[in-house]
Amino acid sequence: MISLRQLTIRYADAVAPTLRDVYLEIDEGELVVVIGRTGSGKSTLLGALNGHVPHFTGGTVHGSVVVAGRDTATHRPRDLADIVGVVGQDPLAGFVTDTVEEELAYGMEQLALPPATMRKRVEETLDLLGIADLRAAPLRDLSGGQQQRVAIGAVLTTHPRLLVLDEPTSALDPTGAEEVLATITRLVHDLGVTVVIAEHRLERVLQYADHVLDVVDGQVRSGSPAEIMRTSRIAPPVVALGRWAGWSPLPVSIRDARRAAAPLRTALSLNPASRGYGHGPAAPGLTAHRVRVDYGRVRAVADVSVAFAAGRITALMGRNGSGKSSLLWALQGSGPRTGGTVRLPDGSDPRDLKPADRRRRVGLVPQNATDLLYLESVAAECHCADADYGHATGHTAALLETFAPGIPPERHPRDLSAGQQLALVLAVQLSAAPDALLLDEPTRGLDYPAKAALTTTLRALAAQGHPVVVSTHDVEFVADCADEVVVLAEGELIAQGPSAEVVAASPAFAPQLAKVLAPHPILTLAQLQQALPQGDSR
């Protein structure tokens, strides 16, 4: 189906080639997961499969990419449109039309299929993806999961033999991601479509994979999931557990791990985990009382009262569009607030402060972190932040160095990886030394090491006694990082408590280890290692 021969791709101004000497054969009907750190060349590999690289991006290509007998050297993406379907990270960015039905038909129109065929295929695809009731809906009004399913449907209508998905679930809540992945596996099993999918959150897809491609510094290693996971630098929690416990074969799904974990669970019930929430009650660092946010006639946040404890990390969870962002903006004071009060420990309301002073009390890292950056280099951004608060030159740069060491100061902020951009914005916001820190979906696009670095940074902040609030969809990150969890639905607060209680109780939000070790309330490998000291019943 796909064959790459000695593929080397180098972009015009790059020092080293992005991909080097890649040999690859992918058979029909396989589900292939591409893993790798950000900037390792994953996206280039995916882009090469439909000719997007180099026809759209530029760059020099040596070797060949042949998909279903067509060489991308002589075929542009539009000439491959009938055999390769591509779905990107942000479905909204790729929509050409306004409504679901038109979007599904668009690709077929370009391929000049007869109208009767189009009508039939649109109906079939609507049913296949379970979106028949949305046919006339405007694309912009759909939820993230629905949009992503429409985007998949829109390429499916042309009956492609290869589906290429670049992090299709990165912006979705756990339930939305499940929907999309269920759809993809169904396509592989029922229709025999070949699927190549890149994903940071491996815990979601690894179990479905036939093959894993590990991209490390431009070189591609291919193998079965268990084989690649044995040594990969990137591993989901269940694999980390398997490696720690020394299981062979290495489990990649919850089911396999749970079967292998029976002795662990027995050992755990023998020495019951003494994991309490050792902090006891903490002083509130930021208190919201009956906060309400309305946009016209839509109520985004409905009378939420919650206290965020100083020295704790609180995770804010909930569906796409459940009011998480609105609540964070209202807490910071820069966003609209229709009713209620927000209080800092000294009784002041951040909304009454001037923006410059507000920033010293409550810092917010917005969802599109790069919105805050506008200068040409990392160094200029750091200087600007220093100047804003009268710090000595180098203060912000030093902060940045602790979060993400080794960023070249002359680099343009847009050219940084997602993790580095987040670190830069975090450093800029923390240069004001705010009392409380709020982060809106910071884990989007971060790989495991970048997430671990973020966890370390946030823990250090919390240890200094600052309240930290993080909105996120990433349950593994919550398990690792958060002390407490607040769940919103339709703008209302529906659950609040220590993360082990809230997260483990919900099938959608439970992290992998909690599922493997249930009923024991253990969320992360670190907790397990603490509960079962070395040598105990491996």
Partner: protein, 363 residues
């Protein structure tokens, strides 16, 4: 019956009204055209963002009138007898073309300038009406396949424009988080850089998505020399024809007939080129009675005004020297009134979703 009218019908209708407005500075007739435009838009626009943008065109039209007046006060030829604003005049030296600045503003000259502004403003309003009644995206669907490269650029522009507004809102809010203490120039950069980068990224992503889904695929077989020959002949014919129409000394045969023949050849060239870009349409926008009626009503207005122009050109202007009340060109007025028929005789458009607020909440 609830359906969208064919977008080309709305555009033809609006363009004929714009052309009608171009023929006259008679305030009565201009007011009638504006009235017809507003009435039809209010009756037949859907709830889409484009429908709401009509107000912006109205503002733009008013700005044009005001600009024209300001220019008149600054450098215009101030003829007439009735003084309304005595201002000193400055004579620029001859090296600056001897222009006279300011000077006493007189009613006749100011009125003439305002009406010229109103003529242009009405034409802009007609374009706004077309935009409000037929979303540009739907118009692009009926765009000739041969022009797919221009079409791609237009689709990207039309799709990304609303995103641009969204990014401005988002980035401005984000600026508050950095203290918003920037000085003016810096503040502008802080807003413009992220917004432009964001918009550029989005445009590229959309163009890539369109390409990846087969936009502008070509048949392997080229159409030989027919397409270039037809297009070249057509353009040549159109040029000669326009010259013939505008220059009264050339023989009449070189005017309209050549122009029409040239345009036909151009259309033929487009059609021939379009055949090498295979494309089908999922749901063809129907063209039936209401579409014919809409287009015809626009042409009635244009023809009636054109007839008046031939018979009694003075009645289409504003009598300024001496200043009198404008005539009422009954035939033209009746013609323009006919153009209001689409407000009641076309099918009602389906109600678009009205959830802009939900989108704002997601920002």
């Amino acid at each position: 019956m609830i359906r969208h009218l064919h977008p080309a019908a709305w555009w033809l209708w609006a363009l004929t009204l714009a052309a009608t407005a171009g023929l006259t500075t008679n305030p009565v007739l201009l007011a009638a055209i504006i009235g017809v435009l507003v009435a039809v838009v209010l009756a037949r626009r859907d709830g889409s963002p484009w429908g709401r943008a009509f107000r912006l065109y109205a503002v733009l039209g008013a700005v044009i009138v005001v600009t024209r007046l300001v220019l008149h006060v600054l450098v215009g030829l101030k003829f007439g007898t009735i003084t309304i604003l005595p201002l000193p005049s400055f004579h620029l030296p001859s090296w600056a073309a001897g222009i006279e600045l300011l000077g006493t503003v007189r009613l006749e000259g100011a009125l003439g300038a305002a009406l010229e502004g109103a003529r242009l403003g009405t034409m802009i309003l007609a374009i706004g009406a077309a935009n409000a009644l037929a979303s540009p995206k739907r118009l692009l669907k009926v765009f000739p396949a041969a022009l797919h490269e221009i079409g791609a650029a237009l689709v990207v522009a039309v799709t990304v424009a609303p995103h641009l507004a969204e990014s401005v809102v988002r980035v401005r809010r984000a600026r508050l988080l950095r203290g918003d203490d920037a000085r003016r120039l810096k503040a502008f950069r802080a807003l413009a850089m992220p917004v432009l980068q964001d918009t550029l990224d989005r445009s590229l992503a959309l163009a890539a998505a369109m390409d990846g889904r087969g936009y502008g695929r070509r048949n392997a077989s080229p159409r030989g020399r027919v397409t270039p020959a037809l297009t070249l002949l057509g353009l040549l014919g159109a040029c000669v024809g326009i010259y013939g129409v505008l220059d009264t000394t050339t023989p009449r045969l070189l005017g309209l007939p050549v122009l029409v023949a040239g345009l036909v050849a151009c259309v033929g060239g487009l059609w021939s080129a379009g055949r090498s870009v295979p494309r089908t349409i999922y749901r063809r926008e129907p063209w039936s009675g209401p579409e014919w009626l809409t287009v015809a009503s626009g042409f009635v207005a244009l023809t009636a005004t054109f007839i008046v122009l031939q018979q009694d050109p003075a009645s289409l202007g504003m009598p300024l020297l001496p200043l009198r009340a404008p005539e009422v060109p009954v035939v033209a007025l009746l013609g323009v009134a006919v153009a209001a028929a689409p407000a009641v005789l076309t099918p009602v458009p389906p109600l678009a979703s009205t959830r802009p607020v939900a989108r704002e909440a997601a920002l």
